[in-house]
């Protein structure tokens, strides 16, 4: 299925761009992500737990970044294998443009599922994928903009107070 959407992010384009290439940010933003490692150059390895309708599974997969136009656009491609649940794979073409309030992030997502996920979930998969994309970019926006402390994702894993700063400030301060 195809999802095309965009959202305004109140941050400079360069900050948004850097966030897109961070394993740490991706881990926080991919819904249900348990582990994420790797780098933009070598690709990321991820473990994601998700429930699609009646099917709950742990997906192990790889995310690669390609078609990079520095600071402007890139393609994220991922495939997750969920064992008996089947597989999910997809790509997102993400484009950044300057806007009045910061950066306009536009995305075209193309996602596919196979095996049991397709067999049991085909009617609900479109809604599921929209929800996933929405959650991903909402969290991403919060991470980049530096959300209010109570909205921080993964706050319980963050013992140090500076973690509550926005993502970029944290990276810079490291």
């Amino acid at each position: 299925m195809q999802i095309t959407d965009s959202r305004e992010i109140a941050a400079p384009r360069a900050d948004v761009w850097q966030a897109l290439l961070s394993a740490e940010v991706l881990k926080d933003c991919v819904p249900g992500c348990q582990e994420m490692s790797g780098s933009p150059e070598d690709g990321f390895e991820a473990t994601v737990v998700q429930k699609v309708g009646p099917v709950k599974a742990t997906f192990k997969g790889a995310v690669t970044i390609s078609d990079v136009v520095e600071g402007e656009s890139l393609t994220l491609t991922g495939e997750g294998k969920g064992g008996a649940a089947g597989f999910a794979k997809g790509g997102a073409r993400v484009t950044l443009t300057d806007s009045e309030t910061g950066t306009l992030l536009s995305y075209d997502v193309d996602a596919k599922v196979g095996g049991k996920l397709a067999q049991l979930g085909s009617r609900i998969i479109d809604g599921f994928a929209k929800k996933m994309a929405d959650q991903f970019f909402t969290t991403f926006q919060q991470r980049v903009e530096g959300p209010a402390p109570e909205q921080e994702v993964g706050a319980e894993d963050a013992p140090e107070p500076e973690k509550k700063k926005g993502w970029l400030r944290r990276v810079v301060s490291n």
């Binding site: 049991k116 397709a118 067999q119 049991l120 085909s122 009617r123």
Partner: protein, 787 residues
């Protein structure tokens, strides 16, 4: 006055006692000592090149006995196909190999890659998740037209293309049909899809393999419609086990509808693995697994042309069909769109010129094979739909147009190679008009319209060729098996009988109907006769149950064996009565000397056969047991007329079936109640196809409708009470019972009636809709209404 026993009596189904009280013995009820369980790891991609299958981690999981992959089956035979079709150029069809576990490639979602044998099902399933499989995904071939396009990805690289065969029937008719259509006063053309179906028997498939190291004997317990055929196919072609070392048992089987005819990889696997691990191995399909491993049905895309002269006589029929074979050739797959379909294209009508072209196509989908009716529903649907369309185009009454073109003289040789022995199509149409109260339809339509509903009436005829089949003819047409049936009648000393039949019963009521036949012939109570079936160790031979053949072929074998029993018993009786054999009469269970009051009871004769103190030992052997093989002389041709009335809600497109009537000619009837039940079930499946069921793949070959959330089976509130009648009987002329078979008729005759009715309803609402493809879901009907 209805009879209370014997032929013609509605004897209660004796097998229902155990089916309804939870005491049946199904394959999943069978557990062997020391049994292990198998779970198949199946492909979740439609098409891919298989790389390494790493079982190291999985093999170390708890409870794992052994893990098998395709490599374990090198040197083991291919799952065989039982029918070879010759194409219209005289060349044999393309026939791919079909390994037990995938080798080199996976070719459909559900193709088994590995099999884990473990102490429990759960352990086998868990371990399967730990198997690492490398698959290089290939483009999936799903659409049949795309599969035949130049440069299309090939499902089987060793074949020249995805075309299994291009079949013309009858090829010599081609030019005359083209000429007749060119010169016709009117030609009606209809493009339609006969959608892919999943049989969904109530009981999923199960297999238990067992091996006795002491004797070297293999046993397979399986959910099969024909255990002897499985023994032959699996023993001779896959595993190389001679028949005397292989026993196949198909105990109580909870419905088949065709999909349990075929030999499946899981059966061969369990038999093979039981020896390899030296333990019984059991597999029970889940419902999800059934959707992607049971052979599917139908899946034809057709253009049909019906040509008429200026007086509305049918002059020619030409059809062009694409038939989906799926990824491999299932056991009888090639015969379904060819000989079981093309031979029926004349229907009930005397059309002089007919040509049927079928291209069978490989795709990355589950194999497609016979499903209730098998080819005949596809033929009937297109023919009866195009006749309805022609009637509308010509502004004539669809019933009158049919009557005008009926075959009325028998025997009738069709232009598509079969000869109808007997029938009376006007009689069944008259009967339908009566039981369906067609005269009252206009009033009922007014009442529906007053409620804001559209009401439509659909009528059609059907004919089927069943009672498969004369072996010599089937052999000429490419069958790799004979299609006779066997029966052994064993009379015990005290007079009771055991009838061993090759006809398997999986819901048809054989255990009730067959004793009615024997009881009638001898004149004894039905409960003196027991039916044994479904075990190759007990029954001499059997070709199984499909194609509405059990009574016509299996029942005829029972008649022949019983006749031999009676002939021998008469010799014994003649000796006991000191009379000439020619004077002995058998009536109501006693042998008497014609014209005298001398008689001897059935039980005295049977006792003499086993205690031969006073016995003609010079002339005949002791004992009373006879076997007969019956090979039919022709197909049988049940036929009938069906009528359906629907209401369509123009706001939602929802179709409700208000009335459904069926007037069938099944020849002689043994048990009217069972026949009615068979027709009810068949119509239910036909309505399911017409309104609800659809097996859907996406463009990547992912199976989308693989649970009851998405595959809509008909439920009680989707079907009406039926009016069924089978009093119009023209007995079959070539089998001893004069029976024709009734198992598939309902599923063959009903889909066109439903669709004709919905089109009629939409037309009555002023919408010029000429066709909607099945299933006629609310969305499709609404789209047609608002298009």
């Amino acid at each position: 006055m209805p009879k209370d026993s014997g032929i013609g009596a509605s004897s209660k189904r004796r097998e229902d006692v155990r089916f309804l009280s939870g005491t049946g013995n199904y394959t999943d009820d069978i557990n062997r000592p020391g049994q292990a369980y198998v779970h198949f790891l199946r492909s979740d991609v439609a098409h891919g090149r298989l790389g390494a299958v790493d079982t190291t981690a999985a093999a170390a999981m708890p409870g794992v006995v052994r893990i098998f992959t395709g490599a374990d089956f090198e040197g083991v035979g291919s799952i065989p196909c039982g029918w070879q079709v010759t194409d219209r150029f005289g060349e044999p069809m393309q026939e791919p190999t079909h390994p037990v576990l995938a080798q080199g490639k996976v070719r459909h979602v559900g193709d088994p890659i590995a099999a884990v044998v473990a102490e429990t099902y759960e352990q086998a399933r868990d371990a399967a998740e730990a198997i690492e499989v490398e698959i290089e995904e290939l483009p999936a071939v799903v659409d049949m037209k795309a599969a035949l396009a130049d440069g299309a990805t090939k499902v089987h690289e060793d074949l020249t293309s995805n075309l299994c065969y291009d079949w013309g029937f009858i090829e010599d008719n081609r030019d005359s049909v083209d000429a007749a259509i060119k010169g016709a006063a009117h030609v009606t053309v209809l493009d339609l899809v006969n959608q892919r179906m999943v049989a969904n028997p109530m009981e999923p498939r199960v297999a238990v393999g067992d091996y006795d190291r002491g004797t070297g004997d293999h046993t397979l317990y399986t959910t099969s419609q024909n255990p002897h055929v499985i023994r032959l196919l699996m023993g001779a072609f896959v595993l190389g086990i001679p028949e005397h070392k292989l026993r196949v048992v198909a105990p109580d089987v909870g419905g088949g509808f065709g999909t349990k005819i075929f030999h499946y990889a899981e059966e061969a696997f369990c038999t093979f693995a039981a020896k390899a691990v030296n333990r019984p191995v059991k597999w029970t399909s889940s419902r999800s697994e059934a959707f992607m491993s049971d052979a599917h049905g139908r899946d034809h895309v057709t253009r049909i042309e019906l040509a008429l002269d200026a007086d509305n006589n049918f002059v020619a029929i030409r059809t062009d069909t694409l038939a989906n074979m799926g990824a491999y050739l299932s056991t009888f797959a090639p015969s379904v769109p060819s000989y079981l379909h093309g031979t029926l294209m004349a229907g009930n009508y005397k059309t002089p010129n007919i040509y049927v072209n079928v291209r069978a196509v490989f795709t990355n989908t589950v194999p497609v094979d016979a499903y209730r009716g098998a080819g005949r529903p596809e033929a009937t649907f297109q023919l009866e739909r195009v006749i309805d369309k022609a009637a509308r185009e010509l502004g004539v009454d669809p019933i009158a147009l049919r009557r005008q073109n009926f075959v009325t003289e028998f025997p009738y040789a069709t232009p598509v190679a079969v000869e109808y022995d007997t029938g009376d199509y006007n009689a069944t149409m008259d009967k339908l008009e009566q039981i369906a109260d067609l005269a009252g339809f206009p009033e009922r339509r007014k009442a529906s319209e007053a409620k804001g509903k559209l009401r439509g009436l659909g009528v059609n005829c059907y004919i089927e060729a069943c009672g498969l089949a004369p072996s010599n003819l089937a052999g000429q047409l490419g069958a790799r098996a004979g299609l006779y049936e066997s029966a052994t009648v064993r009379v015990n000393a005290t007079g009771g009988l055991v009838v061993m039949t090759g006809s398997h019963s999986h819901g048809q009521g054989h255990e009730t109907a067959f004793p009615q036949v024997v009881a009638e012939m001898i004149g004894i109570p039905e409960d003196m006769i027991e039916i044994v079936h479904g075990d190759t160790a007990k029954v001499p031979m059997g070709m199984g149950t499909y194609g509405s053949r059990s009574l016509a072929v299996g029942g005829s074998a029972i008649v022949r064996a019983t006749e031999k029993i009676i002939n021998k018993a008469k010799k014994i009786a003649a000796h006991l009565l000191e009379a000439a054999e020619a004077d002995i009469e058998l009536k109501e269970g006693a042998f008497s000397v014609a014209g005298t009051d001398k008689s001897v009871a059935w039980g005295d004769v049977t006792l003499a056969a086993y205690v031969p103190h006073n016995y003609p030992l010079d002339d005949i052997e002791p004992g009373l047991e006879e076997t007969a093989f019956y090979d039919p002389a022709n197909f049988t041709y049940p036929a009938g007329a069906y009528g359906c009335e629907v209401e369509v809600d123009p706001e939602t497109g929802k179709v409700t079936i208000e009335r459904f009537s069926a007037a069938d000619d099944f020849g002689n009837i043994v048990n009217p109640m069972i026949v009615s039940g068979q027709v009810h079930g068949g119509i239910g499946q036909g309505i399911g196809q017409a309104l609800l069921e659809h097996c859907v793949y996406d463009e990547d070959g992912q199976l989308l409708s693989a649970s009851y959330m998405d595959y809509a089976m008909p439920r009680a509130d989707d079907v009406p009470f039926y009016a069924v009648d089978h009093s119009c009987a023209t007995p079959c002329t070539h089998n001893p019972l004069g029976v024709k078979g009734c198992g598939e008729a309902g599923a063959i005759g009903s889909p066109p009636a439903v669709v004709n009715a919905v089109i009629d309803a939409l037309q009555s609402g002023g919408k010029d809709v000429t066709h909607i493809d099945m299933p006629l879901s609310p969305a499709r009907v609404w789209a047609a209404l608002n298009g």
